[in-house]
Structure formats: structure tokens, C-alpha cells
């Protein structure tokens, strides 16, 4: 066969072929590029979050030797206060009669922060007195010392106070403790560790001018050089009860504290509790209703216009923006039905349940629909009623699929923020609720809204806390999604 007879052998044809092959390659590369971009975005997101979160989990600590001055807090006041709050073994039998007038003065002396601040200032004045020179009056010098004492977090004061009240410390002794550094000095110290040379242009240093001055810097340098500073994880232990006996006392830290105005003390515990409570509400509300509705629509509903409408309605509801559900909560639940319930986890959970309901229904319907009809037919053939065949044979077979749908719905609810903002679950909560189920009906905050609060703050330490909070939230959500995927994979293999 000569080359001229075949049109496929001509020069034009081979050029066309080359062009087509090139087109194929380009198209393929574009596809790969798209996937690569998606992966790149994920990596960038994870990197930016995880890098910052490290400094949210660790904090700087400063070792202090503090003299618990009996001149500042009188021993009599302390005893009176201990009696009045019932710390003494049997407060009604204690020697000291609680006297309302004395107790008032005692509590002012023991509880007020200035007492402990004064002890701190005395310590700084004594140990680092040579840093504060060149002041004209003593008052100016005291002011400068007070300014430097701000480098210790409020948490340390509370720690001393609590131990003093509980009797662990006694007045008149010199205690040594690793005190949590305040936010600004914490950022400064971490920065100092990172760069050997002081870089005045750094964004952090400019910000820090707010509270850490030159004196503070030199004191911090000396503390560092004498090995009295360290960076440690500040995770904390939540309180653990076993049969009414407390086996772990609460230790403050990121996982055990609530939010706070001072960034170093802020933790995720209250938010995690709120999210947990809301997920319980979602589970109690959305799961039974959603699964029952799915069974009905898939197996029992007559094919008519009403059912059609229900179906369209559910499909639409699945795509309604979450913020609309928030408006529903704000207007219907808070404005009309239960005024004063703004910010309660039970309200937030209800709104999230509304939002999750269509997801649960759609996933459950798909799972029920995937069960082979032979299951049902066999049961019907053996004389079971329609309901018996569905509930005893189809439903158990569909259970894994339903479970994975439910878990995905819960993960979605756990990460949703906008409805929480609408129903007021973004309040500043600085205490972990300790009232069991009654926490459902007290003002709360969820993990996403807590992250939103922190994210809006420009303080670098709050940004680290934001990242740390995001790591917690992502761990939760990704773990839930992974569980759902695992269950579904096993389910598919089993069928």
C-alpha cells in the first residue's frame, strides 16, 4: 500500500494527530493542576493553622519567690475568711464565729487582687531593685515597678490566693512557684527565644510597647539569663469525678479553662462543653425525628402531591443558608416562644438540629433505599406486617448507613458558626459551667463561636489561641467525618 492512498499518513494528518495528542496532554495536566491546587490549599491552610497553634498550647512561666507578707493579709482576716466560706473542716464547729462585719473586711483583704499584686511588687522591688534607677521620686519608681509586675498573669495571683485559703500556703513563708507569664511578656519571651538579636521592627515588638517597657525587658532578660523562665505546655486537667469522689482536681490550662480577657488564661473548655451539650440536643432532636421521617418517606408514604411537596421541601431545606436557621432561632424561639433564652445551649442545639434534620433525612433515606428489597419481601412472605418487616429487617440492615449520615450531620453541626451568633451563643463566658444538665439552660458558647471571638482580636496571643482552638475543632470534625467514612466503607463491603 502506497503512502498516498491512506489519508492517515499525510503530513497534515500527523500534525493533526500531534495537536490532538497535545490537547489531550494539556487537558490531563489541567486536571492534575486542579487537584494539585486543591491539595495545595489544604496544605497551606493546615500549615498556617498548625504553625500558629503551637504557641497557643504552650505558655511561658516565670519562677518567683514570693514572701506572703502577714502585714498585707492579716492572719486573723484569713482565718475569718476561711471560716466564712467553709474551708475549715467543720465551719459551724470552728472556734471562730463567723461575724458578718468582720467577714466583710476579711474577704476584702483576702480576695482583693491588690493584696497579691502588692506582694509581687515587693518581690520585684527587692530582687530587681537595681533595674529601677534614675527616678526622681519614690512614687515614680513604684509606678515603674508596678508596671513591670504586670508581666505576671492574674492566674498566678488566683493560684496563690486559692492555696492560701485552702491552707496549702501559710502566711509568713516565702513560696517558690512557676507563675504563668502575662500575655504580652509571654509573646515577648517566645519571640526572644526565637531570635537572638532584638528586632525592633517586628510587629510583635511594636504591639508590646503597650505594657512591656524597657524595665520589663531588662528584668525579663535577667530572669532568662538566670534560668528562671521556661516554656511549657499549658493544657490543664478538667475536673474528674468518680462515683462522687474527685480523683482529679481542676488544673487551669487550655483544655480546662474558659475564655478570659487576658489571652494567656483563655481556654477552650467552656466552648467545648457548649458544643458537646448542643450536640446532645441535636442527637436527641434530629436523629429520632430524621430517621422516622426517612422511614416514612421511603417506605410508607403514599405517592401523592403532599409527599412530593415534603420531598422538595426537605431538599430545599438542606440548601437553605445556615444563617436563615439562625434568624429562625432568634425570631421564633427567642423573640416569641421563650424570651430570655438567648445564648442557651439548648436553643443553639435546637437550631442546629433544625439545620441537621434534612441531612439526616436524606442520608437515612439513601441508606434505607440501598437495602435489597429481598429483605423486606422475605419478611412479608413469612407473615410479618409491613411495619414489622421494615423495623425488624430493613432498618437493622440500613443502620450503618444511617449512622454514618448522622455522624456527618453532627460534624456539620459542630462546625457551624452563623446560627450560634444569631441566637447569642457568642457571649463572653469566663467560667466553665459546673451544674450538669442545668448548663443547657445557662448562657453558653460553642467552639466555633469561641474561635470567632478570638479571631476578631488582633492580639498575637489571641491569634495563637484561635489557631489552637481551630486545631481542636478540626480534630473533632475530621475525626467524626473519618468515623463516618469508615462505617460507610464497612457497610458497603458488607452489602
Amino acid at each position: 500500500m502506497s503512502p498516498q492512498t491512506s489519508p492517515h499518513q499525510s503530513v497534515q494528518a500527523s500534525r493533526r494527530r500531534a495537536a490532538r495528542r497535545r490537547g489531550e496532554l494539556i487537558f490531563r495536566m489541567l486536571g492534575l493542576l486542579a487537584l494539585g491546587l486543591a491539595a495545595l490549599f489544604l496544605v497551606a491552610l493546615m500549615y498556617s493553622v498548625i504553625k500558629k497553634s503551637y504557641n497557643g498550647f504552650v505558655q511561658s512561666f516565670i519562677q518567683l519567690d514570693i514572701y506572703l507578707d502577714p502585714d498585707i493579709i492579716k492572719p486573723a482576716d484569713l482565718a475569718q475568711f476561711q471560716a466564712s466560706v467553709g474551708v475549715a473542716p467543720d465551719r459551724w464547729a470552728a472556734d471562730i464565729e463567723p461575724d458578718p462585719k468582720l467577714a466583710k473586711r476579711a474577704s476584702r483583704s483576702v480576695q482583693r487582687g491588690t493584696s497579691y499584686k502588692k506582694m509581687l511588687q515587693n518581690m520585684f522591688a527587692e530582687e530587681f531593685g537595681d533595674h529601677f534607677t534614675g527616678y526622681e521620686t519614690d512614687r515614680q519608681r513604684d509606678k515603674a515597678i508596678a508596671q513591670v509586675a504586670e508581666m505576671i498573669s492574674l492566674e498566678a495571683q488566683f493560684q496563690i490566693r486559692d492555696r492560701l485559703i485552702s491552707g496549702e500556703y501559710t502566711l509568713g513563708e516565702t513560696i517558690s512557684l512557676w507563675a504563668l507569664a502575662a500575655g504580652d511578656s509571654d509573646v515577648l519571651y517566645k519571640d526572644m527565644k526565637r531570635r537572638t538579636q532584638k528586632n525592633v521592627d517586628s510587629e510583635n515588638w511594636i504591639l508590646l510597647k503597650r505594657s512591656v517597657d524597657e524595665n520589663g525587658l531588662s528584668v525579663l532578660m535577667e530572669l532568662r539569663d538566670t534560668g528562671r523562665t521556661r516554656i511549657r505546655p499549658y493544657l490543664g486537667i478538667p475536673k474528674i469525678d468518680l462515683f462522687g469522689w474527685t480523683i482529679a482536681e481542676q488544673q487551669p490550662g487550655f483544655f480546662a479553662s474558659a475564655s478570659s480577657t487576658s489571652p494567656e488564661r483563655a481556654g477552650i473548655a467552656a466552648a467545648a462543653q457548649g458544643t458537646f451539650l448542643m450536640l446532645i440536643v441535636v442527637m436527641v432532636l434530629a436523629v429520632p425525628i430524621g430517621v422516622l421521617a426517612a422511614i416514612y418517606l421511603e417506605k410508607f408514604a403514599p405517592r401523592n402531591q403532599l409527599t412530593d411537596f415534603m420531598e422538595i421541601n426537605i431538599n430545599n431545606l438542606a440548601a437553605v443558608p445556615s444563617i436563615i436557621f439562625g434568624i429562625l432561632g432568634a425570631a421564633v424561639i427567642i423573640q416569641w416562644l421563650f424570651p430570655g433564652s438567648r445564648g442557651f445551649p439548648i436553643v443553639g442545639g435546637t437550631v442546629l438540629a433544625f439545620m441537621t434534620l434534612p441531612t439526616v433525612i436524606i442520608a437515612s433515606r439513601a441508606a434505607i433505599g440501598a437495602v435489597p428489597p429481598s429483605f423486606e419481601e422475605a419478611a412479608l412472605g413469612m407473615g410479618a406486617s409491613h411495619q414489622q418487616s421494615v423495623f425488624q429487617h430493613v432498618l437493622p440492615a440500613a443502620l450503618p448507613g444511617i449512622a454514618s449520615g448522622v455522624i456527618i450531620g453532627l460534624a456539620q453541626a459542630a462546625g457551624e458558626t452563623a446560627p450560634l451568633l444569631m441566637v447569642g451563643m457568642n457571649a463572653f463566658i469566663n467560667d466553665v459551667c459546673d451544674a450538669g444538665a442545668a448548663c443547657l439552660m445557662s448562657k453558653g458558647v460553642g467552639m466555633p463561636s469561641q474561635i470567632y471571638q478570638w479571631a476578631a482580636d488582633d492580639d498575637p496571643l489571641f491569634q495563637n489561641k484561635t489557631a489552637a482552638g481551630i486545631v481542636c475543632l478540626l480534630t473533632l470534625v475530621i475525626a467524626m467525618n473519618g468515623l463516618a467514612t469508615y462505617i460507610r466503607a464497612r457497610f458497603e463491603r458488607a452489602n
Binding site: 495528542r21 489531550e24 490531563r28 491539595a39 498556617s48 434568624i327 434534620l357 466555633p448
Partner: protein
Amino acid sequence: MNRTSSVSLQIAFFIFMIIGLSLFFGAYALIVPAVVAYIWGAISFGQWRIRQRRLSLEEARQQGMNRFGLPNLPRFYGFQTVLWWLLPPVLLLIIYRSIGTPILTGMIESEVLVLMGKTIDPTSLHEFARTTLAALGLSGEGSTSGFTEAQIGALPGLTDYFSQQHGLRRLFWFALLMGALAFWQSGPRAFTGNQGRVTVFALALIGILISILSGYGTASIIILIILAITLFSTDINAPFARVLFMATGVGVLIFLRDQLAWGEGGWVISLLIIAGSTVVLWRQGMRPRLSDQMFVLVLLGLATLVLLTALTWIGAYSWLFDYGSETIFEVSPGNLGLQSQKLLNAIRDLRSGLVVSNPDVAAAASRMSAAQDAYRYGYLAVVLLGIACGVVGSLIFVRPKHRAQSRHESAANFGMMLASAAAILVTVGIVLALLSNAELFFSKYPIQDFLFGLHWSKDAPIREDQAGGFNLGAVPVFYGTLVVSLVALTVALPVGLMSAIYMAEYASPRTRSIFKPILEVLAGIPTIVYGVFALRSGIPFAKDIFGGIEWVLELRFLPTPMHLEYLDLAIGAKSGVVAGAVMGIMLIPFISSLSDDALKAVPRSLRDGSLALGGHKSETILKVLIPAALPGIMGGFLLATSRAIGETMIVVLAAGGQANLTLNVLDQMTTVTVQITELLIGDAEFDRANTLSVFGLGIVLFVSTLLLNLAAIQIVRRYRQRYS
């Protein structure tokens, strides 16, 4: 011992048990032995009836009788019977509690006030209690203002007190006890195989839920361990069941010792009672063992009971107040606290037979303890009355001539229909909330000004005399929403579509196993995370990029740089285009999975036809697959648009709140969702036009997403019909 005497012995034994326990323990503890006695009593009653007919258990069964001496009916009758037995006592108890407890509390208060020689209005004391509870966060309003420092200092102790004395903790033990009882009675059979695992799972879940709500974190971990053992052991046999039961028994004993005031004596007595009753029943030849079905019924009844009690606990303020009043007296200042403590101590002393020296206090205490006793006996009476009602009701109403199964099934059908209607209710709620408030808004602010006005400044004037005030022309807001969504879709559509194509058509199984989880993780990331990413990483990054572009464009590297007057590439603290781009990333997996579905739905024959004619893969995809899948892809695109319009957190954090009607997408842009968030985020009162505008915006948002969704659903439906 003849039969009659053994029956009377049994009856006497149960009566002794109930009365004795009611004397020794508080009313809460009573419910546990009462229910135990109740179930045993029912069984012994059945035995008695069978013996009256001079039949053996086997003969009775052959005659179609069950162990309750009743005709052996299908389990729906059993279900109804259990409901009849359980509901009346529980409902009566709820009513009794919610009436009785406030009365008792009020009595304590008035006695204390008399002791103090004061006539304070009791309502003021209630007020104090209520504010204290509010300060503890037990009800919504209230603050710590108006308290002395000592009181505030004592509040944490009070909270502890509350958590220790929680009613739900008792419920936890109760549920555990009931579960173990049912477990024991049903024998190990119900716990083997798959059904058994599901049962144990459900049981443990109930336990975990209650224990967590009641603050028993660790207890729930123990249950989890039991659960894990149960789930992963292939065969659970009788010894395991017994061990579990014994562990529960130990738990009950701890409960009795911890929770009851009579300390050591309490658990000795309860141990004796449990042992004694077991011996008595055993010697009678009774081995109470329910069938699997009966076990499920008991479990259902238990769940109802627990749920109802939990509901009352949550609902009834009085339950909290029961403990609350005692505690509040403790923290209340000065003389009041001392007096009430004196009274409480005196009551305790009187009960343990001591003499109280102060005659006034003694009189008050004896009055109070009489009242408390009356309350406890009343509790007992109510339980017995409820049981009687239940038994009589079940005898009257649960009969073969009633069609139990069809009634049961129609009730279940109705319940399922209600559940399906819930979704409609949600939609109705949304529409009602939006419409009624929007009507109010449009009566204050003309609708045409809202929809077509070009100026948006929502802040109300600060001073009364200030002219103008807010402008609620929403066009800039709509414009911002459209621009941001457009940017997002420009990013998401090509990337999402191309990645779907690559995953479906080109990727090897290994590549797919790498990229599929990546897309799934991207899809699962909460939007707040994207928002923070946009704000903290996206905007600085964009600043650098656009700064660099500007630097190049303006030829700054030349000795005499150009100045481009009309080009502003500066990015501020917030930027519409960054928000849009990050939103685009968020939408990639969404579009990818929807296009994937659409591509997969194209029949194989179309693809094979194109390939057979010599088309390359890319040509097949571009010229055959995509045109064929276009409706599906369009549907996905519309859904993505609807999501972009409704997306909130990314734009709240990164797009800004300033309404700019500008062509510069690098500038701040505001969207409908941002405005809604900013207006509603505080404690908004819905009485001014600017806060009410939320509902105007909400309606626009809802209607536009509704139209998009409906169109998408319709397109996808038709498309499915075409190929299937």
C-alpha cells in the same frame, strides 16, 4: 407451709419492704426498691393466679397463659401492659412533686423567719433565692450585682453543692440498676449475637447520656469500657453477665452509702433486703426470667420512665428549689443562715432521738419533721395509688378483643407522619418569622427604598437631634454579595470541575486514594476555619501579591517610576476578593462531588461510542460527556451559587462591613449575611427599622436561595429521568 400463708408472707414482705424503706430513706431512694418490688410483685401475683387454678407453670403455658397468669397475648399487648403499669405512677409522682416540694420549701422558710422573730415578706426571700440561682447560671437573667463579697465568694461552693446533690445522679444509678435488673432477668440470651450488642449499646448510651448530664464523667468512661468489651467479645456468656450485675450491685451500694443520710446503716439494710428477698423468692421456686421480648418491653418502659423523670427534672423549678432553699440558707448572710442551719440541725437531731434544748427551735423542728414525714408517706401513697390505677387499667383495657397490633401500628404510622411534618414545620417557621417581621420593617421603611436605594448605613443616629440617620438602601449590599459570589465561583467552578473530571476519568486508583481524602477533608472543614484563614493568612498574602504586581506595573524598579493614577491595588484590612477566593476554595469539593455525580450518571454507551469512533479521552469528555452531563453540572453550579450567597463566616471575617458600590473588587465589600450578622449579634431589640432590616435582608436571601435551589432540584430531577 401452705400456699395461702406463703402468698400472705410474700405480700407482707413487700409491704414491709416499701414501708420500711420509706421510713429509712428519702423519697428518691424509695423509687428504686419500689420498682423492684413492683416487678417482683407482678410476677408473684401471676404465680399466685396460676396456683389458684392448681396448674404447674408448664401446664399454664400449654393452656396459653404467660407467667403473669394472664392469657398469652402477642407482645403488643405486653407493651401496652407495661405502659399501663409504668405511666400512672410516674405521672402521679410528677404532679405530686411539683405541688409538694414548693409547699415544703415555703414551710421551711416561714419557720426560719418566725425563729428570727422577723416578718419578712416570704416573696423577698424567694427573690433572693431566685437571683442567687440566676447568678449561678441556673436561669437566664440576673447578675451578681447586689451581693456581698462573702456571698459571691461562697457561690462556687454552692455550685459544687448543686452538682453533688444532682437529682440526675440518682437517675443515673437508677437507670443502671434497672438495666441490670432487666439484664439479670432476661438471662444472657438477649445479650448474645447482634441484637444483644445493639441492646447493650443502647443501654450503655442511655447510661452515658445520663451520667454525663449528671456530671459523672468517669462513670461514663467505665460504661464505655464495658461497652467496648461487649462489642468486641464474640460471645457473651452467663458469667460475664453475672459479673456485670455484681458490679452494678456494688455501684448501688455505693450509691446508698453516699447519697443517704443514714450512712452505714443504710447499705446494711439494703443488702439484707436484697439478699432476703432473693432467698425468699428462690425458695418459692421462682427463677424470675423474662423472655427476650419481655426484656425489650422492660427496657422500653425503663426508657420512658427515665425520660419522663428527666423531663420533670429539667422542667420543674421546684426540684432545684428543694435543694436550693437549704443551700441558700447556708450562704445567706449572718443571722438568717445561722438560724436556718440551726433549724436543719435540730430536725436532724430530733430524728436521731436527741433532745433539742431551745424549745422554740424544737417545736419548729418537730413541726418540720412531721411535715417532711407527711410528704414522704404521701409519696408512698401516690406511688401505690399509681400502681393500683395501672394494674386495674391494664386489666380492663388490655384484652384480646382490642386489636393491639393494628392500634400500635397506626399510632406508629401517625408518629412517623408527624416526624416527616417536622421538616415542613421548620420551613413554615422560617417563612412566618421572616414575613411577619419583614411586614413590620416595611411599614417603617418603604420597600422600594430598601430594594432600590443606593446608600446603606445601618447605624442609628447617636443623638436625637441628629439629622438623617440610617439609610437602608440595600443595593450596595446585594452588589457586594453578587461580586463576592462571582469571585468564589470563578475560582471554584474550573478547579472543581477539572478535579472531578480528572478523578473520574484519568486518576489511577492510587492517585484517587490520595486525592479523595483531601477533597473530603476540604469539604468537612468548618467555614469559620476558612474565615480565619482568609483573615489571617489570605489577606496578608494578597497584600504581598498585589503590592508586587503594583510594583511591577508602576515600573518602580526603573530610575523614574511611573505612576498609574487609576490603578489602586492596595488591599486594606478586609477585602472582597480575598473572601471570594477563599470561599471558592471552600466550594471546590462541593462542585467537584456534584459534577462527579453528574458525570457518573452519563450512560456508558455514550462514552464507549465516542471512544470507538477514535476520540481521545479529552475529546470524549469535552464533546460528549460534558454536554450530556451539563444539566447535572448546571444543577450543581446553582447549588454552589446558593451556598456562596448564603455563606457567612468567611465574609464576616474577611470581606468587611462597609457597603461600597465600587468596581474595585480589592476593596471592602459587604454582603447580605455580613449585615444580618452585624445587626443581630448584639442583644438586638426588634423595634427599630435598622434592626428590623435583618428580616428584609433575610427574605431576599431566603427567596433567592430558594429559587436557586428549586431550579437546581428541578434540573437534576429531569436530568435523572432522562438517563434512567
